[in-house]
Subunit: 359 residues, 2 copies
Amino acid sequence: MTQKVTIHDVAQQAQVSVGSVSRALNNYPHVSEELKSRVMAAALELDYQPAFLAHGLRRGQTNSVGFLVGTIANPVISTIFEAASEALSAKGYAVTLVSSRNQAELDVACLRLLARRQVSGLIVSSAAESPEPARRYLGELGIPTVMLDREATSDELVFAVQSDHESSMREAVAHLIRRGDREIAFIGGPEDFYPTRQRFLAYQAALLDADLPQRPELIRFTSFNERAAYAEALLLLQSRPLPSALIVAGNIILAGALMALQDLGLVVGRDIALVACDDINLTRLYRPPITAIRRDLKLLGVTAARLLLRGMQAEHSEIERIIKLPTKLVLRESTQYARALPRSAPAAGKERANGTILN
Amino acid sequence: MTQKVTIHDVAQQAQVSVGSVSRALNNYPHVSEELKSRVMAAALELDYQPAFLAHGLRRGQTNSVGFLVGTIANPVISTIFEAASEALSAKGYAVTLVSSRNQAELDVACLRLLARRQVSGLIVSSAAESPEPARRYLGELGIPTVMLDREATSDELVFAVQSDHESSMREAVAHLIRRGDREIAFIGGPEDFYPTRQRFLAYQAALLDADLPQRPELIRFTSFNERAAYAEALLLLQSRPLPSALIVAGNIILAGALMALQDLGLVVGRDIALVACDDINLTRLYRPPITAIRRDLKLLGVTAARLLLRGMQAEHSEIERIIKLPTKLVLRESTQYARALPRSAPAAGKERANGTILN
DNA sequence: GCAAAAGCTGAAAACGATTTCCGACAGCTT
DNA sequence: AAGCTGTCGGAAATCGTTTTCAGCTTTTGC
C-alpha cells in the first residue's frame, strides 16, 4: 500500500532491466554512465525508495540496532541513548528501543524480540545486572554487542563501554574524610549491579585508606525504585548517631533520599552532607546545590555507538574490547558546611558555590 | 548467519511441507491436531523463530511503529514513551525511536526514514511544531499516525491525544490572582508550539476573567534550550518592579528559570511565587516544593498507543479522532507565601506542604 | 449409495529487492 | 577474417516467509 513504487517501475520508466537498476543505484562497477544517469533520473522522478524488507531479506542485514534498557524514563539513560542514537542514525542505522522495565526475567525475552528482528548490533544497558541467562543468550546470539556501563563478558563479539566510577568515588569519600566526616553512609542500587558495585568497592577502599572502620549499619542496598530507596533512607537516617555524610549511588536513590530528608526535617548541607552519583538537573538546581560525580553522558553514548559500528564491521580482532571513560567530582554546597565541623571553617578553599571540578 | 533455522528445517524435521508448517504455526483453520502438534514439537526443538524480514515482506506489514520525538532526553517525553512502548510491545509491536533533535527541518527526513522502514504506525511528538512540510508529508504517507500533545490535522488517518492544558492553567492563574498577585509573568516555549499556545491562551483568558491587564513586558517566549530560557528569565527578573509570580511552561524552561533565580539571589516562594508545568522530580523535590500542573504521563502514552492500535486496524470511521486528557493543579509551597502578601496570611487553608491536588 | 461438500495437505507462486550467470557486442590481436 | 578479452545488461535464481491452487480423502445430506 504505502510503498507503491518498486524497482520494476523504475526499470520500466528507464527502459532497462531491474538488475541494471539495482546495479546502477548501488554503484556497482561496470555500469555505463549513460545507464546510470538514466536510472537516477527515473528513480528521482518516481521518488523511489528501495523497500527495506526486501533489501534486508536479500542482503541478510537490516541496518538497524537494538537498544535494551531497564527503563528509558531516567534522565541518565535517556541522555546516553539520545547521543548513541544520533551517532548511529548518522551512519544509516535505525534504532529500536526496548525496555525490560527493570525486570531481569524480561531481558531474554527482549533480546529474543530484537534477535528475531535481525538487528545488526545491540547496545545493552539493562538495569538488571542480568544474572546469567541473558548474558549467555547474548553469547549464543552472535550479534555484535556493546554493554553500556555493565560488566563485560568474555565473548568475542561483546564489547563494553564503562565509566570509571571508582576513582571519583574514592576522591569523594577522601574529601569527606578530609572535611572531618567519620560516619559516612552509603545507599546503592542492587548489590550486583555493576555501577553500584564499582562505587561500593571504591567507598570501601577509601575508608580503608583512611583507616576508618566500615559500619554495616550505614550501608544499604536497594532496588531501583524511589519508594524502596525512600524507605531505606528513612531507616538509615533515623538511626543514631546520625551519619554526618550520605552518599547516594544513583539518581532514583537520590530522589528517594531527598524525600526522606525532607520528611525528617533534615536540611542538606547543614544537617548532613550529601554526595550524589550522576550530575543531573536536580543536583545542579537543588538548594543547596548537591555535590555530584559527573560523567560525560553524551560521550558515553557516542563511544558506545562508535564501538558498535566498528564491531559490526567484521574486523573484531584488533579492537580494544573495553573502553573506560573518566568521571569527575563536582564539589558543591551540599558538602561545604556540615554539622561535624564549625560553620566558620569550611574544609578547603577550593570550593565555590557553583561547583569546582576536580580531577 | 544469525538466523540459521528456517521454516524448511522445521518442515523437514516434522516431515511435512513448508506450507503446512506456516499454517500450523499461524493457527489456520483446517489443520489437523496431529500435524499441528508435530510441527509445534519440531519448532520448539529447533527453537524456530520466523524471520521477521521474510514475514514482513510477504505480509506487507512490519508490526513495528515509529516514534518521532524532538528529544528523548526530557523526563516528560521519556516517561510518555516508556508507557506507550510498553503498551505497544504487549501487542507485538516493536518501536523504533528517532529524534529530530529539536530541529524542525529534520522532521521530514526522520519521517522518511521511518516510512522507508514501512512502519505500520507512527506516534509523533516532535518538539518543533512542524510548520507545514512535515504535516503535509504525514498526510501523503497514508500511515496511521497519532499526534501526541500536538495539533491534529484533518487527515483521516491522523489522530491526536492531547492534554487539557487550559483548564489547569486558568485555575493556576486564578489562584495566583486570588492570592493577591497582580504582576504575573509567563515564560513559554516557542509561540507556535501547541502546549505553549494552549497554556498561553489560558493565561490570557484568566487575566481577562479577572479584569487584569496583559503586560507584554512580562511575557516571554523562548526556544527549547536551557540557556535561552535562562537568558530570558534573567532579563525578565531584572525588570522592575519584580513580578510577584512567575509561570514557566515546560521543564526545560523551569531549569533555566531556577538558574536565573539562583544567580539573582531570589528565593522561590519568598521573593516570587512559581508555577511550573509538568510535575517532575525537580518540582516535587525542590526546596520549597514547586506548585505544578500535573498530568498522567503514563496515561498519555498508553492512550496514544491504544489509539494507534485501533487506528491500525483499518476501521477508522467510528473512532473518535481526538482524545483530550485532564490535568491537575498541584499546589505547593512555591505559591504559598509571597512578597505580595503578609507572611501571616497564606492564601487558603487547603494548601499543605506535600501538595494538595485540586480538580 | 452417491453426489456434493468439507477437511487436509503438498506444490508452487508470490513479495521486492540483490546477485549470479550468461550471452551479446565492441575492440583488439594475430 | 577469425579468435580472444573485457564490458555491459538481461534473465533468472535467491532470500524465508505467506498464501493460493489444486488434489486427495473423508464426511455429510438426501
